[in-house]
């Protein structure tokens, strides 16, 4: 397994009082632009947990997506993956949002593979669960139901905003 992370900010004092214009001129960003990403070079063939990051400050998870470098997962109500964006607080898991590869009628979507995005944009987030306290852990639980295709070397990206 290999894990990585990112979406951190390289701090650069601008000098003097910061204004939106001065920050924009310096290539600045907003807290809402922060994100973390990680690559898991495993092929998921069974239910798998992937830890993404530890919240260094209180915040809110605002979006999530994954992409795989090869293969994909077809839609099926018999054999599918259920992927839960999850927050762990002191080891207790709370689901923020869940998306599956079930049929469209069942609210799922195929994972296209080939470095195409599979986003949680259309999924409703549990706001309480998405609210992070310092020290919370954010990750995913991919639950295998039936015999869907493996999820190969997924990358997970989560956007979060300090509050």
């Amino acid at each position: 397994m290999s894990l990585g992370g990112g979406g951190l900010s390289l701090m650069r004092p601008l000098g003097g009082e910061a204004t939106p214009e001065s920050i924009a001129a310096a290539g600045g960003a907003l807290t809402e632009d922060l994100f973390a990403s990680a690559l898991d070079s495993r092929a998921y063939s069974a239910t798998t947990t992937m830890v993404l990051f530890v919240a260094e400050a209180a915040g809110l998870v605002t979006s999530a997506a994954l992409a795989t470098s090869s293969g994909g997962v077809a839609q099926s109500d018999a054999s599918y993956w259920s992927i839960a964006l999850t927050r762990w607080r002191a080891g207790v898991a709370t689901t923020i949002a869940t998306k599956t590869t079930r049929t469209t009628a069942s609210g799922g979507e195929a994972i296209a593979g080939g470095l195409q995005p599979w986003t949680f944009d259309a999924v409703v987030f549990d706001e309480a669960a998405a609210t992070l306290a310092e020290g919370d852990v954010v990750g995913f639980v991919a639950t295998r139901v039936g015999t869907p295709s493996n999820i190969n070397q997924p990358n997970f990206t989560v956007r979060f905003e300090p509050t």
């Binding site: 290999s2 990112g6 990403s37 470095l115 990206t157």
Partner: protein
Amino acid sequence: MSRLLLAEELFASVMDHRQVSTGIVSAVCVMPWSGEITSAWLVSQIAIAASDAEYFTIALERWRYGSQAVVATRTTQATGGAAIAARVPWSIGALNAANRVVQKDDVIAVRVTRTLGSTVATFSANAFTVGVRPD
């Protein structure tokens, strides 16, 4: 409410422990917003000598719903490339002005391809760091 950051740029960084015997593709991130790629680096745990007989090609790619665009590429060829020193940042090369522009849901990836020769060089445990800046 969003607050301003005193941040010059953001970045995504992933590590891939797979051995590059023929080639690998490592997804770095799914872009959460539109912007541009500002830099791309590889850090290898081992040194890779420059060689025209056996070398690696490292390409930074932008994928937009199945359509590939090469943002930058560089090799470890003796001719036109550069050796990789262990744990020293190695730039993936000059960024293509058009392809460095990203949209939300673009997938950024790094492809490492091995061109075989008389030796048996492989490498693994690579970190890829890509600087990104929002619009």
